[in-house]
């Protein structure tokens, strides 16, 4: 059996843990730069606020209904996510983190009353962390995801649902929209619709050859998984990412080249740190920047500039200075830049590359010692402690007008309590 543990309205739930007064009230969390709603409590969903709604569009709705609004507090969400996973590990040694708010658990070889177990896992997560978690247990990962969605629809299940009997699975899949099935891409939906496939059950009733032909191997896997045959591997190791993108909208438009360079340098440093953490080297990187496309009156431009590293690099200095040079190249005076970013387009694992014969090894060695020193200082004293001059204060200009305290990650922000 496999389990999927999915945190309900995760970011909104994290905010509520420390604000019990918001229990039962509408809560939304905004994306970076307070752009749009990325998490909604059930009450906020009931008001009709949709995922991705731009904040300026829902402002009146928010004000009229007393919706509590938060800017994303990602250190808090990351910490709460780790806590939930720590609880999950008490129930199974193999836990695969699927996203910040979802994790699969491998329960093969575990003997238990799975319905009781699902409810116990959910209750334990709530007791320890205050986060409501929906736990679905089923013979395959895809069915476990379906089961966890049922918990959200039916509070009677008390956060845990064990779904395995063929007649139960059929009953559920007959009412489950095929578009909501894990692994069914948005692009497949019109095709499925044309074939008369509306529910997950309809999909399972297609002939094997049709599925293989129309939806290739991933579609066939999903088809088998829905029929109760596990074929999506359990991955409790983290695969190295194939692209890395760091970009942000700015709270105000940037018109000076130095200011833009300083912002891009911040993205570049975060990108290189991600590369180093997964032991990858960057072969190709692009820097891009554009103006505010929502402002029709202002002159518009967008530019990008490509940088290649034939030998691959994960060196702070080389990466950041290349990004800054690329920014100077694409910058055009007289424009207000609203968004910029750094994308690592091509990367390789350290061990995959052979050294470049004529590389300046003494200089490279010194530089890699500098990079290693930066890593250890920043991991000991916090990111951005040691940085390049061009980065300025190391902060990105982003609007965060509604941010809650870093309750669990900064001593100065821990909640205050009175004694009465």
């Amino acid at each position: 059996m496999f389990a999927l543990a999915d945190c309900n309205n995760f970011f909104a739930s994290c905010e509520r843990v420390f604000r019990p007064d918001l229990q039962g009230k509408p809560v939304i969390v905004l994306s970076n730069n307070d752009g749009c709603a990325v998490a909604r409590s059930n009450e906020a969903k009931a008001l009709g606020i949709k995922m991705g709604d731009p904040f300026f569009k829902i402002k009146t709705l928010v004000e009229n209904n007393g919706v509590a609004v938060f800017s994303g507090n990602f250190p808090l969400y990351g910490d709460m996510s780790h806590r939930v996973q720590e609880v999950l590990r008490r129930f199974s040694p193999s836990v695969e983190q699927y996203s910040i708010d979802e994790a699969f658990m491998d329960l093969r070889g575990i003997k238990a009353d799975f319905d009781v177990l699902a409810k116990r896992i959910s209750a334990e997560c709530y007791k320890c962390t205050g986060i409501p978690v929906s736990v679905g247990i089923a013979p395959t990962k895809t069915l476990a995801k379906v089961a966890s969605k049922l918990c959200k629809q039916y509070p009677k299940l008390r956060g845990g649902c064990y779904m395995w009997r063929p007649q139960d699975v059929e009953k559920v899949l007959r009412r489950f929209p095929v578009a909501d099935v894990w692994g069914i891409g948005r692009r497949s939906v019109p095709k499925l619709d044309a074939m008369g496939v509306r529910t997950a059950w309809d999909f399972t009733q297609l002939h094997e050859n049709v599925v293989r032909k129309q939806f290739a191997l991933p579609g066939f896997r999903t088809w088998q998984e829905l029929r109760g045959i596990p074929c999506i591997e359990f991955e409790d190791y983290v695969e190295a990412k194939q692209t890395i993108c760091l970009s942000r909208s700015f709270a105000h438009e940037i018109t000076s080249v130095n200011e833009l360079c300083s912002q891009v340098a911040n993205f570049a440093l975060s990108a290189v740190q991600k590369l180093r953490a997964q032991h990858s080297l960057c072969l190709e990187m692009a820097v891009f920047a554009f103006t505010n496309r929502f402002k029709d009156s202002a002159p518009q431009t967008h530019g990008s500039s490509l940088v290649t590293f034939p030998d691959g690099t994960s060196d702070h200095k080389a990466f950041v200075s290349a990004a800054v040079a690329a920014t100077r190249e694409l910058f055009r005076p007289g424009y207000g830049y609203k968004k910029a970013g750094v994308v690592v387009l091509k990367l390789a694992q350290e061990e995959e590359l052979t050294g470049y014969l004529f590389a300046d090894s003494a200089a490279a060695r010194r530089s890699s010692r500098l990079s290693a020193a930066m890593d250890s200082v920043n991991s000991a004293f916090g990111p951005g402690t040691l940085r390049f001059g061009i980065q300025g204060d190391g902060k990105v200009f982003a609007a965060r007008d509604h941010q809650s305290p870093h309750y669990t990650t900064l001593w100065s922000d821990i909640p205050k309590v009175t004694v009465k």
Binding site: E86, K127, G130, D360, S361, A362, I414, P415, V417, K420
Partner: protein, 137 residues
Amino acid sequence: MEPNPIENAFEGDMLGNVKAGFPSPAEDIREKLDLVKLLVRHSASTFFFQVDGVSMVDADMDEGDILIVDRALEPWNGCKAVCFIDGEYTVKKVEIHSGGAILMPCNGHNPKYKPIPVGPENNFLIWGIVTWIIKKA
């Protein structure tokens, strides 16, 4: 750039570190007392709070003290708990009787603070149990 021969020679020496003398009998023993292990029993459910504005209370707590709070523990008779009452976090003493639990004020001198019975309809009141009080000497 020409590699610096002096720097290279120095690196060579550092690599060829020659050991001499009697090996330390404690070489493989590196144990340290870890405060976090002592203070945090369940890391998933342990949170930190800070005491704000205390006066006239008999609860061993002073302004600025750090409280270690475990959400996973069941309250016991006489324990101190961080509760959420009237929109703020407040520490109360928990008394457990046969009929249920009562949150007792830590400030017995002030008649304003009354004991609060904990019922099934308002058990959200207890946020976590105080397991340690850290105070600056």
